[in-house]
Symmetry: D2
Subunit: 337 residues, 4 copies
Amino acid sequence: MWLLLRPEVTAADIEPALRVRGWPYEVRQLGGRAIVVVQANGQAPAEAASWREVERVIMEGEEHPTLVYAAEGTYSLGNWRRGDSLLWIAGPCSVESRSQLLSTARALRDLGVTALRGGAFKARTSPYSFQGLGEKAIDLLLEAKAETGLPLCVEVLSEKHLPRYENIDILQIGARNMDHYELLKAAGAMHKPVLLKRNPQATLTEFLFAAEYLLLYGAPVVILCERGIRTYERRLRYTLDVGGIAVLRSEVGLPVIADPSHAAGEAAYVEALSLAAIGAGAEGLIVEVHPDPPAAKSDARQQLTFEAFAHLKAKADRLWATLHDTATPALNAKGVS
Amino acid sequence: MWLLLRPEVTAADIEPALRVRGWPYEVRQLGGRAIVVVQANGQAPAEAASWREVERVIMEGEEHPTLVYAAEGTYSLGNWRRGDSLLWIAGPCSVESRSQLLSTARALRDLGVTALRGGAFKARTSPYSFQGLGEKAIDLLLEAKAETGLPLCVEVLSEKHLPRYENIDILQIGARNMDHYELLKAAGAMHKPVLLKRNPQATLTEFLFAAEYLLLYGAPVVILCERGIRTYERRLRYTLDVGGIAVLRSEVGLPVIADPSHAAGEAAYVEALSLAAIGAGAEGLIVEVHPDPPAAKSDARQQLTFEAFAHLKAKADRLWATLHDTATPALNAKGVS
Amino acid sequence: MWLLLRPEVTAADIEPALRVRGWPYEVRQLGGRAIVVVQANGQAPAEAASWREVERVIMEGEEHPTLVYAAEGTYSLGNWRRGDSLLWIAGPCSVESRSQLLSTARALRDLGVTALRGGAFKARTSPYSFQGLGEKAIDLLLEAKAETGLPLCVEVLSEKHLPRYENIDILQIGARNMDHYELLKAAGAMHKPVLLKRNPQATLTEFLFAAEYLLLYGAPVVILCERGIRTYERRLRYTLDVGGIAVLRSEVGLPVIADPSHAAGEAAYVEALSLAAIGAGAEGLIVEVHPDPPAAKSDARQQLTFEAFAHLKAKADRLWATLHDTATPALNAKGVS
Amino acid sequence: MWLLLRPEVTAADIEPALRVRGWPYEVRQLGGRAIVVVQANGQAPAEAASWREVERVIMEGEEHPTLVYAAEGTYSLGNWRRGDSLLWIAGPCSVESRSQLLSTARALRDLGVTALRGGAFKARTSPYSFQGLGEKAIDLLLEAKAETGLPLCVEVLSEKHLPRYENIDILQIGARNMDHYELLKAAGAMHKPVLLKRNPQATLTEFLFAAEYLLLYGAPVVILCERGIRTYERRLRYTLDVGGIAVLRSEVGLPVIADPSHAAGEAAYVEALSLAAIGAGAEGLIVEVHPDPPAAKSDARQQLTFEAFAHLKAKADRLWATLHDTATPALNAKGVS
């Protein structure tokens, strides 16, 4: 069983009780609160449920995500404080070279983004496609962080690469790996914030259960990222599920952002999908930006130039401010003030 | 073959040439321009294509929609002028009684909507569900129009009902009937604006071809309405295809609006989907509003109260104004001005 | 309310009781049994439910299909008796000419099919595509019936065409019109067997409700036809829902067949989908056959030659016989007897 | 670049040419033929393409799968020889205990299945669900193999578990891991046959690219397994894509089988989906079987009893034999011989 403790208590408060009963246990932190994994059956759950330090006892076979609902509502990351502005994560699809990455990082820092993204190990549909610079990319990303001060958000493809992610600030779990549970367990155990992309065939419940894995194994926060689902409509690459964004915002306390780049698959539609996501309630965006998109080694069609990104950012920030400025007087019927 | 004439010419300019060749023909108006249906084969198409009055010759078997691209960009309807504000169509799912309809119409007029919607003949999944008041509903709608001055937008279910729609301002073709081509032909021949909803399984090309039928048979303008597509994600009733809205806005000249009520299926999510649609480029919304939603005879869960609608309208108008106000200075990196 | 009478009674058995209470009513036949539509509220339903002639009282707002479950299990049509062999309906997509239709009808009769199909009024995505020969096609179909003795199965597109279908044996409601409820009501009132195709976005419940409309308005039997649903997988035209066939066979008493031609969209895959459908439990097939497929005016890629159809029919009949021959001894582990 | 050699040559035939040019290379075996990975650019590809030992030069950025088409058509596995009978893989969803596994293995051996399946490390949507017995399950599986002689087919969840799979005969890559490319690379490098399940949102091309990864990294053969795709139709757990089975059979040389258990999600529909898959061309089935399904720790609703499996196997084998018995005389029009 798993014991979710109340926010104000610590594991130390119940450890004597666990020891005295001889129940083996292990403590994990969920943001500011503790989860205790206990090996005990029989009357144990009923007994633990009666302790005032315990908010909830989760049993094996539990059919609903739990921790995602218990997650706290306030987070900050670099220059971003939840509720004050949009969270912006931007950068190239793949790290390709020192100059490509550093020029992008500088431009993005000047535009005020919160974190830099960049692919090191790449998940590519074809084994013949560019598979990323791997470890070398990690080094370049750390160099960009050292220079610009931007936190890093980098996708993890495999448990075996995790040791190289010690200085990465946000672990990204890509859409393809959302249901790679062994990776989720290992990534959670890094005790770092995780950006979790929704698999394009996942229901919202399946998506939340993946976040539950991360929280249960130690991630202090999971940023939920909608990036388009696969439907019969194939004119764009995926169908951005704005309804899913709205439902997640309404139901769970974790931050919810969108990835318009992968949903659109075409640079020309990244802005429209970004604004749609914000309208639906997204609290941030992760966007692919490249100094010279047509020359990119992956996702060439969907990456934005610095200029297009600057335009998008200004418009999206303005939109977000309008939606959250409760002081703005109501407009007249013609829609103009 | 069909001859699409250039905007500045009229059918009269080519009728002598058609008569002298003995080609039977028929003239239709597409907004401000003419389409001439000609019964002639062999060399005729090549010959007609050379006439300077003819913009394009469309042949049997043409595989792409054509008129939807030729449609002009400016429209107005009641108090709405395209590009100046959002188009608002609102009203109850079904007309249920005189008092229900009139109270709604008055409230909506006071809030500045452009047109009143209300179901007369209803398409219901179950034969045991309320099928609408039919002709009596039409009478009530006309009374509401007489009193409030609001143009009417009413769904047509069957060609046989069309004679009763003579005084209806906008014919609505529902999602289920988007590919009921005999109805499209007959509705087009009424020479009225048509609001065409996308079938939840239609590709964008199929959707545009349905609009093409309407234009070809005489509709002066078709308002394209995205209302959610059917996907594996069933948490909300449908998945609002914001990417589709963006693509339609970018590719064709017809007005594009959204129906957040049917996409959401729950009143609580109508606002989020409305704002998402506007972010994606929607130029208007058609929203279900009822004086007492829980008592509604159809779609009880998704209709908004007057209050909720007023709140939505103010917020959506403000959002639209922000997106279209080119004078607004860019914001700083924190997203607040 | 609607009163579904028990199989052994007739409407005459309860008419005195209805008259004495002054309840207006109307009688409809559902195959061998009667449904009585009664205008009465208040205590009436409870009272009627107590009559021994009444199997079930259906109320307005009923949320589940009812008659589709009450439908009887035995049907015959031309040379087909349910349970004895596969039902075969075959013929060209569109009737194109006298010789095309008659040569096809003769070939199909010689191969032992049960009924001839052929499109008269065609539902085409593009208004520029061949729209069918219309009334002339009906005449040619009746001629083919007169010569070959084959019953006719012809799609109805519009209520206004129904008077021309008086001598058509099976009314076909196409996939696009499955949820065109006014057409279903009018088609049901013709009191003819109806072949109902599933809309490619319909759930099984929506499909059954469409059949419920037909039965409620007078169709003696509805043949349910799965023809492929629309999914993200677009390599073939649609995804044949074999699971849907299996569920329908298990849950309702109406005959269930498949349309492999529209599901595949390519002649090369019609056989595989036919055999899959039979494996899943389909009791018949409706297949497009043309004397010269590449020259067809519609669906040229998916129609079978006479030869390919003869091959398919022999193989499918053999498969069906194997599945239904309970006398066959079990085979050994290598799969050969 | 990758050099696919002609079937009759070996890598040794071109190694002198590679060495003389100083191109670094690595040799891999694809079933009976060799692939040589060469680090060389510039004129190298054109030069290598001219060598008579080289069938095809594959370049970085290649957009189509290649090796899946080059794969040979004949395989055998235990008692199964491709083309002679159906391939049967069966066993419990999860290994739960010694008695559960051994009783199942014995029953299946007696029924003539080819290989035993059984989950050791389980991928479960909820972290609170039974995660499998892990290493202990591997030991039990090896014991079952030792006793019954049945080859083992076991799912691999993570690269880190691979060392424990040395004595497993067929590595299974589950649907969730189809696009976990690092796992594919590592599994391919085990040089064992791999059963690859299609991800429920994968296109056929994406599925084949996953197989391409496996072949390129060393798997001698990949068994492609369709197990249902995710569509709007949720009455059963997934929609078995019989069209996909037919297309794969027609286009590639690798064996194609189906998993009716996961597609159905309910034991009652496993038989119908099995027969449908065989009708579509499936060459084998992987089926979940449990001594006492309601007591199963995972997938309790979809596992078959021994009896139900025996019934299914006899029927499916008979169906397969009918479809492949070219000597059977054609049947008459009534479908019975």
